[in-house]
Amino acid sequence: MSEVKKITLPLTDKAVESLRAGDQVAINGVVYSARDMAHKRLIEAIEAGEELPFELAGAGIYFLGPTPARDGKVIGAAGPTTSSRMDPFSPTLIAKGLKAMIGKGYRGDEVRGALKKYKAVHFATIGGAAALLSKHIVGCEVIAYEDLGTEAIRKLEVVDFPAVVAYDCYGGSVYTLQGSK
């Protein structure tokens, strides 16, 4: 197995350029959780010219809706949701500076085109390994859309969060490498 690359968010263009589909990575730093409804609201906010709840430039989004944290714990179970449901929204966010996304499964052509055009990257992590992945999250704070419950945007601090580069900024895909999609 290839060596694991340590990366830290927010990501620079240079860091994005160093990643290739199939690379194993350990992600550190800040990522923001957002899934379906939060994406819809972020796009509505952009269309209305409103300020976004976090700085998009260089940022990473984790497609996540966690279970509630037990007392004294940072977060509950925290695995990825299906990335393709965010396909209608991601290109707009990438154009505005989003550099990384973490989810599970495939991305559509438009997202992959945006990754190339604006130098961004999509990571896949293990769907259904949510108890294990929660161990890599050391900070969690709801920063927007609290009314959405599990779908609220959370500022997460991650340590050596395990993932693989699913789609790089050169058009490469881990799924093509594997002979599937």
């Binding site: 809706g65 299906t82 896949a124 259904g128």
Partner: protein
């Protein structure tokens, strides 16, 4: 008539929801361990190992196996000699009311995610209780109340499909389509899958059978040799797709395929495929 107290049913369902979300069934864990031993792809071996580790952490620390603690699907087999007594005045039968109260209590006390919205297309407001549960109720002989709770994730449910074949279509066409459905589910639906197939009945019954099929033990085969053969053919073909654990390649795309059947109309050959992720969570109790 034998009577069961409302509160007893509530607390039984509450416990089932919590334990289902924390403990992977033995047959599923054994299937993952078995697949890891046979897997030829090194990255796939690593992912399968992480799934086993995840199951251990979930069990030891009471963290849900998956953050998607599902829509709660409840199969009830109620003996004709048993009834549930008590409960509130919510306009529901005592058994349905007790099941929903048990789901709400389990999801709150077990720190499980509430993933149910009240209506689908307009406001999509979260009910904040994970109810209503989807309840499939059968009256059976005897005086026991058997309750099975399945916490079914949305990612894999989204990849399930239905197709109406011609009654004259060859069995190979059905096999190929089921394999194709699993391939389309791919990395999105958390492979390795368990594939439930419902053949026959009508539009809605085939879908229900495909879900019921998922409740069988993974080592179980259809008692009819013809259908047991199809189960084997589908599993073998799906595992040749190369999707692999997490969709990142390998020999392990599915852990099992189970077919349930029913008689059907001379004009019809309905087939439904219910895709289930590797986090195949279900628990049963008999009261």
């Amino acid at each position: 008539m034998r009577y069961l107290k409302y509160d007893k049913v509530v607390s039984a369902v509450e416990s089932l929801c919590i334990s289902a979300c924390h403990e992977l069934p033995d047959d599923v864990l054994a299937a993952i361990e078995n697949a890891r031993e046979k897997e030829s792809d090194r990255a796939a071996v690593d992912i399968l190992g992480k799934l086993i580790e995840n199951a251990q952490i979930a069990k030891d620390e009471g963290i849900p196996l998956c953050q998607d603690t599902g829509l709660t699907v409840v199969f009830v087999e109620q003996g004709e000699g048993v009834a549930v007594k008590g409960g509130g005045d919510d306009g529901l039968s005592a058994v349905v009311s007790a099941i929903n109260a048990g789901v709400a209590a389990g999801y709150e006390k077990g720190y499980l995610r509430k993933s149910v919205v009240a209506e689908p297309l307009n406001l999509r407001g979260n009910t904040k209780t994970n109810t209503p549960a989807i309840i499939h109720h059968e009256i059976v002989p005897g005086d026991k109340l058997k309750i099975t709770v399945m916490t079914k994730g949305g990612g894999c449910e989204n990849k399930s499909q239905f197709r109406m074949f011609r009654p004259t279509d060859d069995k190979q066409l059905v096999v190929e389509w089921v394999v194709d459905v699993a391939g389309q589910a791919g990395a999105d639906a958390c492979p390795p899958f368990i594939i439930g197939v419902g053949i026959g009945g009508n539009f809605e019954l085939s879908c229900l059978l495909s879900k019921k099929a998922l409740l069988r033990d993974l080592t179980d085969k259809n008692p009819d040799g013809f259908y047991a053969g199809l189960e084997g053919d589908i599993l073998k073909a799906v595992n040749k797709l190369g999707v692999g654990p997490g969709g990142l390649g390998g020999d392990t795309t599915a852990l099992g395929c189970m077919i349930e059947t029913a008689g059907c109309h001379i004009a019809s050959l309905p087939v439904a495929v219910n895709i289930e992720c590797h986090s195949h969570r279900h628990k049963t109790i008999s009261l």
